[in-house]
Amino acid sequence: MLTNVRAELIKTFRRPAVWLLFGIACLLDITFTYLIPYAGLSGNVDGPTSNRGLASMLPPSFIGNSLGGMPIFVGALALIFGVLVIGTEYASTTWKTVLAQGPSRAAVYGAKLGASAIGALILTASLFAVSAASSAVVATLKDQPMHWPGFSDLATGFGAGWLIATMWTTLGVALAVALRGLALPIGLGLVWMLVVQNLLAGIAAPLIDWIAQMQKWLPGPNAGSLALSLGANPDSPGVGALVSSGRATLMLAAYLVAFAVVGGWLLIRRDIRE
C-alpha cells in the first residue's frame, strides 16, 4: 500500500496543473484578504473587501483569513484538484496500465485518497503561510505589533482548513469516479460550487423555509459555519453562522467519509471503461 501511495504522489505532484491550482488559491487569498483591503485603507478604492479595515489584516486575524475562501472559491479549486487526482486515469485511459501491474482497485483508490489528502494539506499549509506572511508585511508597513494566535488556535484552525479542503477534494474524487472522466465532473462540480450554492443561499433560502433548513445539511454552508467560528470574515462568500462549529465539524467529516465510500464502491463494483 505504501508503494502505491508513493506512485500516486509522484504522479500527482509532478503535474504542473496541480501547482497552478494551489498558486491560484494563494493569489486569491492575498488579493481579497490583503491587497484590496490594504488599498481600501486610503479610502480611494471601492471593492468587495475594501472596507474591512486594518485590524482584519494583522497577525491576530490571519487564521480566519486563511479559512475565508474555503467554503466557495478555494473549495472549488480543491474540488478540481480531487478530480485531477483520479479523473486523469479515465481521460488518459491509464487505468488499464495501472491495474495491469497487479494492485487491487481498493489499494489504488486508497493511495489516491492519501495523495488527495496530502494535496489538501499542502494547499491549506500554503494558504496559512501566505496569510501569515501577508499579515507580517502589513503589520510591519503599518508599524503594528506582531501578536500571533496561540498554538492551540493555530492547530484548530489548520485542522479545520485541512478538513474542509479534504472534504472538497474527496467530492472531486467521487465525482470523477461516478462520471468516469475529467471535464464533466469539473464542470458539474463548479456549477454546484459557484452557482447552485450561491443561488440557494442568496435567493432560495430567504424565500423558502425548507430550503433554508436544508442549507444546514449541505457541505458548503457547514464549511462556512466552521470557517466563521474560527475567525473568517462574515463578508466572505459562503461564510455564515448556520450551525455550531461542533456540528459543522461532524457534518464535514461525515461528508468526507460518504464521498470516499461512494467513490470507492463505484470504482470497485463497476467495469473499468475509459
Binding site: T3, N4, R6, A7, I10, K11, R14, R15, P16, A17, T88, S92, T93, T94, W95, K96, T97, V98, L99, A100, Q101, G102, P103, V108, D271, I272, R273, E274
Partner: protein, 312 residues
C-alpha cells in the same frame, strides 16, 4: 505441437490461460459468447479476429478490468480477485496509455511502484525496448513507435511469465512493426508465454505457435498456426482467357476453374503450375502471370464460419 508446449503438458503444469464458457453482455449486445480457450506455458498464442470480434473485451476480462457475465477463467491457475492474481503477468491492452506530463522513465517509476518492483528494473526494461537514451523525454513528445515500446516496457516490469498483448503493432509503420515483432520473439525465446491479439493474419503466422480464431464474439477455431490458411490456389492470367480456361478445364476439370476478374483461379496443387504453363504455351496461349495464392484472412473466416467477414 511446439516442443515447449509438449514439455509443459508432460510436466503437468497448469495452463497459462484457461477460460470456460466466458461470456460478456453489454445490455442486449453480446460482446463475447461462451469462449473456451487454453494457452499453454511457453507458447506464443495468437488471438486472431477482425475488429470488433471481441478480442479486447476478452483480454480485459482476463485482466480483471471487466467482469464476465458468466463463465470462469484462470490465469496461471489463479482466479480473478484472489491475492496475487496478476503476479508474473504483464499486459499491454488497446495501445499504450501513460501520463503525458511525465518522462518515459518517471512513467515507468510510477508503474514499478504499483507493481512492487525495484527501481533498477526500470533501467533494465528501458534497455530491453531500446528507449534508454530517450527515457528522460516527456511521454507526450514520443512517436507512436516509442509509445508502443514504452507500453511493452511497462508490461515487462514484473519479469512476466505470461505476456498479454493486444494488437501490439497497431498503427506502427513497417519498421516499427518489425521492431515490435523482434522484441516479442526475443521475450518469447527467454521462456515467456505470450498471448497476442491481432487482426493481421501475416503477423500471427510470423510470430505464433498456435492460434484461436474469434468471430462475432465466438471462438470458431483453435489450431496450430501451420494449419491456418493451409491450401491455396493457382492464379493464371493469360490471353486469350477463354482459350486458357478451356485448356485448363480439360486438364483439371471444369468445376475447379473459376474466373477471377481478368484472371483464372484454379484449384490445383502448387506443383501443377509448370505443367499448366507448358500446356498453355503449347496451345498458343500467352501467359503473363502464374502464381500460387494462399488464402487471406477474409477467406479463412469464410472457410471456418461459412460467413463473409466483410458482410459484417
Amino acid at each position: 505441437m511446439p516442443r515447449r508446449t509438449l514439455w509443459a503438458i508432460v510436466a503437468g503444469m497448469s495452463s497459462s490461460v484457461e477460460t470456460r464458457g466466458l461470456t460478456k453482455h453489454y445490455g442486449k449486445t453480446v460482446a463475447v459468447k461462451d469462449l473456451t480457450l487454453t494457452v499453454e506455458p511457453g507458447e506464443v498464442y495468437g488471438f486472431l479476429g477482425p475488429n470488433g470480434a471481441g478480442k479486447t473485451t476478452t483480454l480485459r476480462m482476463l485482466l480483471g478490468l471487466v467482469r464476465p457475465t458468466s463463465g470462469t477463467l484462470l490465469l496461471r491457475g489463479r482466479q480473478p480477485g484472489t491475492r496475487g492474481f496478476l503476479d508474473g503477468i504483464g499486459a499491454l491492452i488497446e495501445g499504450p496509455a501513460f501520463y503525458g506530463y511525465l518522462s518515459g522513465r518517471d512513467n515507468l517509476r510510477v508503474f514499478a511502484r504499483h507493481a512492487g518492483v525495484g527501481e533498477p528494473r526500470v533501467a533494465e526494461v528501458l534497455e530491453t525496448v531500446d528507449l534508454a537514451d530517450r527515457a528522460g523525454d516527456r511521454y507526450s513528445a514520443y512517436s507512436l513507435g516509442m509509445k508502443q515500446r514504452l507500453g511493452l516496457a511497462a508490461a515487462l516490469l514484473k519479469e512476466p511469465e505470461l505476456l498479454i498483448l493486444d494488437e501490439p503493432t497497431n498503427g506502427l509503420d513497417p519498421a516499427g512493426m518489425l521492431d515490435m515483432r523482434t522484441l516479442i520473439r526475443r521475450v518469447s525465446a527467454q521462456g515467456c508465454t505470450v498471448l497476442l491479439s491481432s487482426h493481421l493474419l501475416g503477423e500471427v503466422q510470423q510470430i505464433c505457435d498456435r492460434v484461436g480464431v474469434i468471430f462475432r464474439g465466438e471462438l470458431v477455431a483453435q489450431l496450430p498456426v501451420d494449419e491456418l490458411g493451409s491450401g491455396g490456389s493457382l492464379v493464371v492470367t493469360a490471353d486469350p482467357v477463354d482459350a486458357a480456361r478451356s485448356r485448363i478445364s480439360s486438364m483439371v476439370g471444369p468445376d475447379r476453374v473459376r474466373p477471377d476478374g481478368a484472371s483464372l483461379q484454379i484449384d490445383a496443387a502448387r506443383s501443377d503450375a509448370a505443367k499448366i504453363n507448358a500446356e498453355l504455351v503449347a496451345a498458343g496461349v500467352s501467359v503473363s502471370e502464374l502464381r500460387w495464392q494462399t488464402p487471406d484472412l477474409e477467406q479463412i473466416f469464410f472457410q471456418l464460419t461459412g460467413v463473409n467477414a466483410d458482410a459484417h
